[in-house]
């Protein structure tokens, strides 16, 4: 080391402009190509805006008399999200622990669990909803089960990374006091990453509220289902009300959840 303190900053390497140009050109080409691929045309867009404005007129003003009939379905949406978050939140604990490289008892367990976790993540919540619907029929139960899986996917991935960054001195202390693997997890790993867990669980709940709405559209019950039936009956003023109500409710829930999360960190 240089005790005299006469360190000189090494000269900054020159920026590689060519690379930037190639990347930029590539991205532009990809976008144009993809646009053609989905039949995007500016002309059509303008025409549709005209049609859309007619629809907007029919949708205004919102039909507030419909509001009381939204409460029960909305609560159902929330219940589905809560059950999904709680069940998935509990199941995600072992999945995350076994997927953390520093905590997993052996390489095989780690590898299997890690891949299991990745498969869960790869498949979208709608897929799980369809799968459970064939098992228990369309409805709130299938929705809650689908969200449970979705929750495991969300929390376990994020939280296993938190667990991987804990200070390993404490687990070592618990082991050296004669603690078992499970006790080591409970008394040293989980307490260190507890704040992250709660934060991710709340985040999963926010996602689940939204996912629960979407699942409602395909028959899982709740407010999404009401929205779909009203739309199918061309009751656009009610549709507007539902959208507004959902917007407000979701914003409120997210605000609360976010406030708690911020307090935690």
């Amino acid at each position: 080391m240089n005790a005299a303190g006469n360190t000189t900053l090494p000269t900054k390497p020159p920026r590689n402009w060519w690379l930037w140009a190639i990347v930029l050109g590539f991205l532009t080409a990809m976008t144009v190509w993809s646009g053609y691929g989905i039949g995007f045309s500016a002309n059509e867009l303008v025409c549709n805006i005209a049609g859309g404005s007619r629809l907007l007129e029919e949708s205004w003003p919102p039909d507030f008399s419909f509001l009381p009939r939204l409460i029960d379905p909305f609560m159902e949406t929330v219940y589905i999200a809560i059950v999904g978050t709680v069940v998935g939140g509990i199941l995600s604990i072992p999945v995350a622990v076994l997927a953390a490289r520093n905590l997993s008892p052996d390489k095989v367990t780690w590898f299997l669990d890690r891949n299991f976790m990745n498969i869960l993540r790869t498949l979208p919540d709608l897929f799980w909803a369809m799968l459970f619907a064939t098992a228990v029929g369309f409805g709130p139960v299938a929705g809650a089960l689908a969200l449970s899986v979705f929750t495991v996917a969300v929390i376990s991935k994020l939280w296993s990374e938190s667990l991987e960054s804990i200070d390993m001195g404490l687990p070592e202390a618990v082991r050296s006091a004669g603690g078992s693997w499970l006790q080591m997890i409970q008394f040293s790993a989980i307490p260190q990453a507890m704040q992250h867990y709660v934060s991710y669980a709340l985040y999963a709940f926010e996602l689940n509220i939204r996912a629960s709405l979407v699942l409602g559209l395909v028959g899982a019950g709740g407010i999404g289902m009401i929205l779909e039936t009203q739309r199918a009956n061309f009751e656009y003023e009610r549709v507007t009300l539902i959208i507004l109500a959902v917007l407000v409710a979701v914003l409120i829930i997210e605000q609360i959840s976010e406030t708690i999360r911020r307090r935690l960190t």
Partner: protein
């Protein structure tokens, strides 16, 4: 399952706590020699201080005793039984060998009481510890351990709300709660101020004297080693280069252990020593 009904932390030891290294070697995977041909015998109830410059192998030696480091050749045995490499045998051994760390290693967000009960984990069923449902007898042991280090009134405080010295006392209480035959302390005072350092060292000496627990302490301040050690062991490049009585160790011996002149960086604080 807990089958003991003792109501205090007085160890089931006083019996046991003998440590024996025979031709022990540790070579780390990267080729560094952490321990070289170590032959060493420590008797039950001894208070041994290990000194040596940074990287001399002090931590390596301590961590070999409770199996955190594995020998690459030779043997180490406690009370005549070789230290197992893994499994149930190792866990059983660790219940009798407690460790105290420089950085305390407490669960910061949990209570002092829970931290001390970590020392009892080896003695309760998995289900009980899972539910945090501790038998009265276990809690009594934890409270007794806290009394021995004089912080029983902090039992329900969060560990993070304690001062460094208090946190190290919790670390000692956790070790005591194990009712160990051996206590290993790896630079237990290196993150503490001089006054607290003396208090913690006094605690360790008192516990060793009252309970007869074999105690090995790594220290890097020579005056502390002289003041508190009964026996001093000097390491250099993983080799034992000094083994003698703390009362008779000379500056020449320290020069030899360190391989250089002893400077004022190697002593804690002359004034505080004089006062204490």
């Amino acid at each position: 399952m807990s089958d003991d009904s003792q109501q205090n932390a007085t160890p089931a030891s006083g019996q046991g706590g003998a440590i024996r290294f025979e031709k022990a070697n540790i070579v780390y995977p990267n080729g560094v020699v952490g321990m070289k041909d170590l032959d060493l015998e420590i008797k039950p109830g001894e208070f041994v201080v290990i000194v040596g410059s940074s990287g001399a192998g002090k931590s390596t030696l301590l961590r070999a005793v409770n199996g955190l480091n594995q020998l690459t050749s030779g043997t180490i045995s406690i009370d005549g039984r070789e230290v197992p490499k893994s499994g149930k045998g190792l866990r059983e051994l660790r219940k009798r060998v407690a460790m105290i760390f420089q950085d305390f290693r407490l669960v910061k967000r949990l209570s002092v009481m829970t931290n001390v009960l970590v020392g009892r984990l080896g003695h309760v069923s998995g289900l009980r510890s899972m539910l945090n449902w501790w038998p009265q007898s276990e809690k009594a042991i934890a409270i007794d351990a806290l009394e021995r280090v004089g912080i029983v009134e902090k039992a329900w405080v969060r560990a993070s709300d304690l001062s460094g010295g208090q946190q190290q006392r919790v670390g000692i209480a956790r070790a005591l709660a194990q009712q160990p035959a051996i206590i290993l302390a790896d630079e237990p005072v290196a993150s503490l101020d001089p006054v607290t350092t003396h208090q913690i060292m006094d605690d360790l000496v008192r516990i060793n004297r009252d309970l007869g627990i074999t105690t090995i302490v790594n220290l890097h301040f020579l005056d502390l080693a002289r003041e508190y050690g009964q026996r001093i062991i000097g390491l250099r490049f993983g080799e034992l280069v000094y083994d003698g009585d703390a009362k008779t160790v000379t500056d020449e011996d320290f020069r030899n252990i360190y391989g250089r002149e002893v400077t004022e960086d190697d002593v804690l604080d002359d004034e505080v020593v004089a006062e204490g």
